[in-house]
Symmetry: C2
Subunit: 225 residues, 2 copies
DNA sequence: CAGGATCCAATTGTGGATCCGG
DNA sequence: CCGGATCCACAATTGGATCCTG
């Protein structure tokens, strides 16, 4: 699993053009074009499709909010079912529980990431990683209507946490975006202190887009909004 | 399982008033008031709640389209979950497959039955039959918007059958109303001949309202349309 | 059988847990 | 650990099969 990153694209049009050259190609072909491969000994493939697409498009947001910092664009690789619906929820960002009380939607990491997204949809999830293909690339600029729904979900969740009602926050909250565990097995409960000075135990959490919301977005983009 | 039927109600208001006297009562109390009981040796209770409610309200549409022929009202007893959502789909009527080609929505049995419905919703489906209660009674007059959706489902299904494409008709069709098997185990495949003279094998089928559609109807009726 | 529906095995959905590369 | 996501056991849904009464 090695390959070179391409240079960042110089404009949104250049990025979209580059993305469109990937459509229909197998992931292993894309890796070859970068001088690498996808052969490995790993038992699982989590995250590898995303890593290849990132390299091919020149995503380089190391330590930045966006994958393409100059363009303020987030890249999301999403697996589709045969029917063209998202197979999975989409990770957005982690939430620092200790900072919840001081978070505001309009300056949040979540809003920044969700405002402009290049969706790269992949196909063939019954096949080995190499043989999966890029099905379509769709550019999303978050409309006001969607932002209002996302803000509502965000504020409900962050509001409960900041008023000390963490135990009421479940993954069931949010019609577009939910809060779920985010960490590998080892990274379990830790103690955090909120701004009132209260200590509580928790596990790392992240925001995710629900598959139904992503399906709605993709459907609109396909029909030209 | 014996009880007397009450006389038919003389007006829609009388029917609604009579229905409202059942709200909150246990099914066994309703049977007692009719001089009967609900004790029996049957292993299952399918249809018994409906039979008690029919008797108590004076439904008597023997051989007629509606349960209350004078009022042109259909009675539907519907089990609810604790959250107040329908637990089951709702049977509408059977479809005579051999007549499909000559059926028209506006003169159909389905349209007639669905145009005016008294919903009697029951609660407590984790309890024995006797202890289940009547939760609410809601009168539905099918609005034009709903009728258009029902007509669309009906015509899609009937259209496929009447053009000889029975094998394409599945229970997945229809967003409001679907076609499903309707008969007990013994009543299996029989040969029918359609109007083109073609013979085909099939099983008895009936129209059912999907739980999501019924949920929408009930929610609207509760909030006063 | 027709009319009243419910039952329940199989499929779909989802949220808590987990995996990889750097 | 963080950022990239996927995995998968169990809950929710559903549609094919079935049950009772007259």
């Amino acid at each position: 699993v090695t390959f070179e990153h391409r240079a960042p694209p110089e404009s949104l049009d250049a990025l979209r053009a580059r993305a469109n050259t990937l459509v229909g190609r197998r992931l292993v072909e894309i890796a070859w074009a970068l001088g690498g491969n996808l052969e490995d000994n790993a038992l699982r493939t989590k995250g590898k499709a995303g890593a290849v697409i990132e390299a091919a498009l020149g995503a380089s947001g190391k330590g930045k909010v966006h994958d393409f910092p100059e363009l303020q664009v987030e890249l999301k690789t999403i697996p589709l079912t045969a029917a063209g619906l998202p197979k999975e929820s989409t990770y957005v960002c982690t939430l620092k529980l200790e900072e919840a009380a001081s978070l505001d939607w309009h300056s949040s990491w979540a809003k920044q990431k969700l405002s402009r997204i290049l969706w790269v949809a992949t196909d063939g999830h019954h096949l080995p990683l190499e043989d999966r293909t890029v099905r379509e690339c769709l550019f999303y600029q978050c409309p006001k209507e969607d932002e209002a729904r996302l803000q509502s979900d965000f504020e409900q969740i962050v509001g409960l946490i900041s008023t000390g009602r963490m135990e009421e926050v479940t993954s069931h909250l949010g019609t577009c975006m939910q809060l779920r565990p985010k960490a590998r097995d080892g990274a379990k409960t830790k103690a955090v202190r909120n701004e009132d000075g209260d200590m509580f135990l928790t596990t790392p959490k992240g925001f995710y887009l629900r598959p139904t919301f992503t399906a709605e977005i993709l459907a609109r983009l396909r029909t030209g909004q």
